[in-house]
Amino acid sequence: METDPLEARAALKDAAAAEQRSALLAKSTWLYEAWFGVNVAGCSALFALNGAQTVLLSPLSLVLLTSIFGLRFIYHRATGSWVPFLGGSWRVFIVMCVVVIASCATSYLLASTCGLGWWLAIVAVATAVTTALLIRRSGAVLTERKPTP
């Protein structure tokens, strides 16, 4: 080891500051979070349309795919980075998976038994709000993380 403790302490402080700054830069904005929520709600709606076997399935799939690519592009342009998918927290990720699967399954089952209706809007809004809040929490975990020293 060719460094003295004072230098090591200063280096650790610099590294911690750089990690925090990077996490802050990569943190998503409210627009990204809302857009993310809408995309997940769109996935849920796709399952409903599939369950109801409507012709709207293909056009909505295209719109959703474009929206997801747009979301990724804007995020990268805005932050100059891309956070690892599990950069935030495993717990948030697991809850997110449960919410998405439950929402898609509910939509599919309701659509195949009752057909399309107002319930779809309620499920979509609930899914969008929940997932937007979860992705916000994931970003908060990233910036709250106590990194180096």
Binding site: D14, A23, L25
Partner: protein, 102 residues
């Protein structure tokens, strides 16, 4: 827990901050790194080349809207080396504290 391993390549202040910034993201854009570190294009390129030479970072160049955009990412080897270096620095600091108490 990563084993402490002091790394001369990473220990340079600019390279340490590059690794620290990249450690929390999948990749970072070259201009963002340059602006955050407050160095010129050529200085950052030189440090990235040093990190790339030992396989710690991976540079990806892509043309988007007619402009060349460079993204930088830490490799697995780079992440391990950074974690080991940070552990080594902590060990040095902890050793000093123990000496002071002892």
């Amino acid at each position: 827990m990563t084993a402490p391993s002091f790394d001369e390549v990473i220990h340079n202040p600019v390279r340490l901050r590059v690794c620290a910034m990249l450690s929390v993201v999948n990749f970072g854009a070259f201009p963002v790194l340059r602006d955050e570190l407050g160095v010129s294009d050529s200085v950052l390129s030189k440090h990235l080349a040093a990190l790339e030479a030992v396989g710690y970072v991976k540079l990806e160049k892509a043309t988007s809207a007619g402009r060349l955009r460079t993204s930088v990412a830490l490799t697995r080897k780079g992440r391990n080396a950074y974690a080991g270096h940070v552990a080594a620095l902590k060990q040095i600091v902890a050793g000093e504290s123990a000496n002071r108490l002892g």
